[in-house]
């Protein structure tokens, strides 16, 4: 079957996952992605939102995405 390119929402989620891996120590897990998405991903999103003074929702909202798209330093915000 044809493989469709990711839509906007999927692209945002991929970008967020990459961002959290790079700057918030989101780790690769052997668990299925959907399980991670209800655990570590939300925790790391909350951590990032708290750091930047955003509303802590644990979900990928517009304000959080906006911060993720800003130019920044490549050093992680939390220690590995």
């Amino acid at each position: 079957v044809p493989i469709l390119p990711p839509n906007g929402r999927e692209q945002d989620e991929e970008m967020a996952e990459t961002y959290l891996k790079r700057f918030y120590n989101l780790t690769e897990e052997t668990e299925p992605t959907f399980r991670r998405s209800f655990g570590q991903m939300n925790m790391k999103l909350s951590e990032m939102q708290k750091f930047f003074g955003l509303k802590v929702t644990g979900t990928l909202d517009a304000d959080t995405l906006e911060v993720m798209k800003k130019p920044r330093c490549g050093v992680p915000d939390v220690a590995k």
Partner: protein, 169 residues
């Protein structure tokens, strides 16, 4: 402010730096000036003193590179990550790398090299990211006029927690 785990810092106040290569975005003298001024930001409020060397290994090795550039932390092309630096230690510790896929300038267009470098040198001296949006060590780039730049109080407190204040002031 925040420091790295175990508070790594340089065991001496006399540090060396070396500029390994240059960005084509700016003249050599502009790069030299921006980097020297960025180090002075920290020297003004601490006992740290910086001497430039032109060969051999300096405490702070400065380079420009794109994508994979030899440290397992590849840059990501234009936008996104602008630069990174390593906490004080031997080897790669203290080194600062700038993403050559960005446009660095001495003005307000592109990314001001002085501002980016001053932030990175904070890491090279032992500061981690601050969650104070007004701090130099806040992770997101924002432009401020380098001619009227003054190191924010949060950063002064952070660096002086590691090295103390400038005895000459």
């Amino acid at each position: 402010y925040s420091t790295f785990p175990n508070n790594p810092k340089w065991p001496t106040n006399k540090l060396t730096y070396r500029i390994e290569n240059y960005t084509p975005d700016m003249s050599v003298s502009e790069v030299d000036s921006a980097l020297q001024k960025a180090l002075q930001v920290w020297a003004q409020v601490t006992p740290l003193r910086f001497t430039r060397i032109y060969s051999g290994t300096a405490d702070i090795m400065i380079s420009f590179g794109a994508k994979a550039h030899g440290d397992y932390y590849p840059f990501d092309g234009p936008g996104g990550t602008l630069a990174h630096a390593f906490a004080p230690s031997v080897g790669i510790g203290g080194d600062a790398h700038f993403d050559e896929d960005e446009t660095f300038t001495s003005g307000s267009n592109g990314y001001n090299l002085f501002l980016v470098a001053a932030h990175e040198f904070g890491h090279a001296l032992g500061l981690s990211h601050s969650d104070d949006p007004g701090a130099l060590m806040f992770p997101i780039y924002s432009y401020t006029d380098p001619n009227s730049f003054s190191l924010p109080r949060d950063d002064v407190r952070g660096i002086q927690s590691l090295y103390g204040s400038n005895p000459d002031v």
